[in-house]
Amino acid sequence: MDQAVRELSYAQAIQEAMAIALETDERVFLMGEDIGVYGGAFQVTGDLVERFGADRVIDTPISELGGAGVAVGAAVTGLRPIFEFQFSDFATLAMEQIVNQAAKMRYMLGGAVSVPVVMRFPAGSGTGAAAQHSQSLEAWLGHVPGLKVIQPATPHDVKGMLLAAVADPDPVMIFEHKLLYKTKGPVPEGYYTVPIGKAEIRREGRDLTIVATSIMVHKALEAAKTLEAEGIDVEVVDLRTVRPMDKETVIESVKKTSRLLCVYEGVKTLGVGAEVSAMIAESEAFDFLDAPIVRLGGAETPIPYNPELEKATVPQVPDILAAARSLATGSR
């Protein structure tokens, strides 16, 4: 049966995925601060509490460590919790449960249990929320074996990847860029999944590969349009998953274009793009490189409150244009 496709916002697509999970799997429940009557810090859960009741859409106290601990424990017992953080920055408060418990338990108990918990992290800058509410910490969690870390960039992907996360036996961390919540795109009705660990080529090109994550995918596509008019044919790879990384897609793309630009919002040093560039330098694609690999990442600074400075600390379209031009013309 063909599934009808509608335009939904990224936030609506998440809500629809959670509703489908709640409907189709009685083990699924939602937890988080203000996700019930208030509808969530970014109104993602919306009216789900009215549709599914306060037993399955649970408001937690203001304690990320406590909430995460309950979610991890519930997952160990066989339930499928989806735990929402108000801001990804507060992952810092729950690190013990995420890093030492969720990520390790299956390994340390010899596979006797698994931890099928899903954690959702509103992330990124651009909302004027300042240094403690604007970070991109996906590389932190991506550094931990035992976790899966994803960054869907479109409404279609966030619905399909969230449903794939719920079905996954291991802990999956979803980083949702806050500026994406209102962006719209086609989303099929009903149940479908988008695989975790598989990148997507958003635009094919010959001259240069841009590997981008989350909102940077859209900025890269916008830059690619401008560059096309200048005769620079850009391939845009949406990484989608930080761990496990889809090396094959990136390697094949770089072998084709011979040039790699990594664009990510997290701090440049030791960020996701650092891993992508190191992976390529180690791979068979090395012998195909015709220019140094270039990274565009966040500035080495806390995110400023001032909106102009805030913009200046993360890659913007003109930065991508300048980097791509210098790479494609061989001037760097």
Binding site: D287, F288, A291, R325, G330, R332
Partner: protein, 451 residues
């Protein structure tokens, strides 16, 4: 290891910048934090400090030109550091250092100078090249240090290797594609500088070497392109600036069919003017020699000497069987017998040369344009133009370089030249003395440039 001084990014939107002035000179001793130069952007001028202490050398970032962000504009050498490591040495960088490298005792205040001149030639495995360029060069059997890198600090990139591989002297033809061809009107009556805006270069060009002194301008023969000069340049150090042009309908120039030699000469003149090439030595090979002679005769360009290698235009005969056979050849089997006619010793026909000639057959637009050009200038196997009269009227030194065994244009055509024109005739040499006698031809050209 020397510290790179780069053009920094001082503005988010900045892709290139201009150095408005240098505060230090080559060889100056600087301390970390000293003022080095000033950058001009659309919004502001900004002063840039030294990133390290030492002696400033190899200043390549000229004032007032656009420089890509991140490009090295100079290097800072620590006390006792002799030269940049081998991998940083490019023909350009090496050359720039040479004139300022006197023999200085080891106790000199600038020990960096003492050994710079004796730096060994760049070894292949130390040349600055991208991984892809290395792989392609190895595959084609090319030495990296024979390839001029066009990237930052002379880095050899894919396009440089591909250009080095593509050194065909004559090009196979396919049936013409008339829609790809643009006929141009004769330009002989156009006023200098041929009504073109200053700064536009009608012909594709490349500075194959940078340097000081009188520039040498090179014009290739029919069916070749500017890369065809690279084998000659690989045999020895060249200290003169060296500009190579692509003729119309050749290499990277527009796929046009010029009306006559004057039209091509006008393009050459406009290109030299736009590039601000001063008094120059003009060198042409075969058909390019006829173009060069025409440029010299028109008197618009500031030329101090003229070198004509196996020139066309000295007589009517040209090897029509060669032209016909060569343009029809599609496979290595059918091409090789004709390529052998180009040279006296077929050992000089390298595998990359043959492969490049075959590979270029893929560019049907290019071959179509060249087919039209051949039909126009060598109609019915005849050289339809004559440069003898032009040579007689020239007031600059002219040398003609030919191979005694030239099977394309008979060497006998170089008999009876005006008395002031010098003739170098190499025995056991065919139509390409610049390939078969590359050391000697390069030596002659450098002598002419220095004279």
């Amino acid at each position: 290891m020397p510290v790179e001084v780069i053009l920094p990014k001082v503005d988010m939107d900045m892709a290139t910048g201009r150095i408005s002035r240098w505060y230090v000179d080559e060889g100056a001793v600087v301390k970390k934090g000293d003022l080095l130069f000033e950058i001009e952007t659309d919004k502001a001028a900004m002063e840039i400090d030294a990133p390290a202490s030492g002696t400033i050398r190899d200043i390549s970032g000229k004032e007032g030109i656009d420089i890509p962000v991140g490009e090295a504009v100079a290097w800072i050498y620590a006390e006792g550091e002799a030269s940049k490591p081998a991998k940083d040495m490019s023909p350009v960088a090496e050359f720039e250092r040479t004139p300022a490298a006197p023999t200085v005792a080891a106790t000199s205040a600038l020990p960096g100078l003492a050994t710079a001149k004796s730096a060994p030639a760049t070894p292949s495995n130390g040349a600055r090249a991208t991984p892809l360029a290395r792989r392609l060069a190895a595959k084609a059997g090319l030495e990296l240090d024979a390839i001029a890198g066009s990237g930052p600090k002379g880095r050899v990139m894919r396009k440089d290797v591909e250009a080095a591989i593509s050194t065909p002297m004559l090009e196979a033809n396919s049936p013409a594609q008339p829609d790809a061809i643009v006929s141009r009107p004769a330009a002989s009556s156009q006023p200098w500088p041929a009504q073109r805006a200053v700064g536009t270069t009608p012909l594709n060009h490349a500075w194959l070497r940078q340097g000081v002194g009188r520039p040498i301008v090179l014009i290739h023969g029919f069916g070749a392109d500017l890369n065809s000069w690279r084998p000659m340049l690989a045999v020895g150090p060249v200290d003169a600036p060296l500009l190579a042009l692509d003729l119309p309908g050749h290499g990277g120039s527009a796929r046009e069919v010029p009306a006559d030699l004057d039209a091509i000469a006008a393009d050459v003149e406009a290109t030299l003017a736009a590039l601000d090439v001063g008094p120059a030595l003009l060198v042409g090979h075969s058909f390019g020699a006829a173009v060069a002679a025409t440029v010299a005769a028109r008197g618009h360009a500031d030329l101090r000497a003229l070198a004509l290698i196996a020139p066309a235009g000295l007589g009517p005969e040209i090897n029509g069987a060669f032209l016909r056979g060569f343009v029809r050849a599609k496979s290595e089997a059918s091409l090789m017998p004709w390529l052998r006619q180009l040279v006296s010793d077929e050992q000089v026909l390298s595998k990359p040369f043959v492969n490049a000639t075959l590979a270029q057959a893929a560019d049907s637009e290019l071959r179509a344009a060249q087919g039209e050009i051949a039909d126009r200038f060598f109609a019915d196997g005849t050289q339809t133009f004559d440069i003898r009269g032009l040579l007689a009227a020239l007031r600059i030194p002219v040398r003609v370089i030919v191979g005694a065994n030239d099977r394309i244009i008979p060497a006998s055509q170089s008999a009876g030249l005006p008395g002031e024109v010098a003739l170098h005739m190499f025995p056991a040499t065919g139509h390409m003395p610049q390939v078969e006698r590359r050391e000697q031809v390069l030596k002659i050209l450098l002598e002419m440039a220095r004279a």
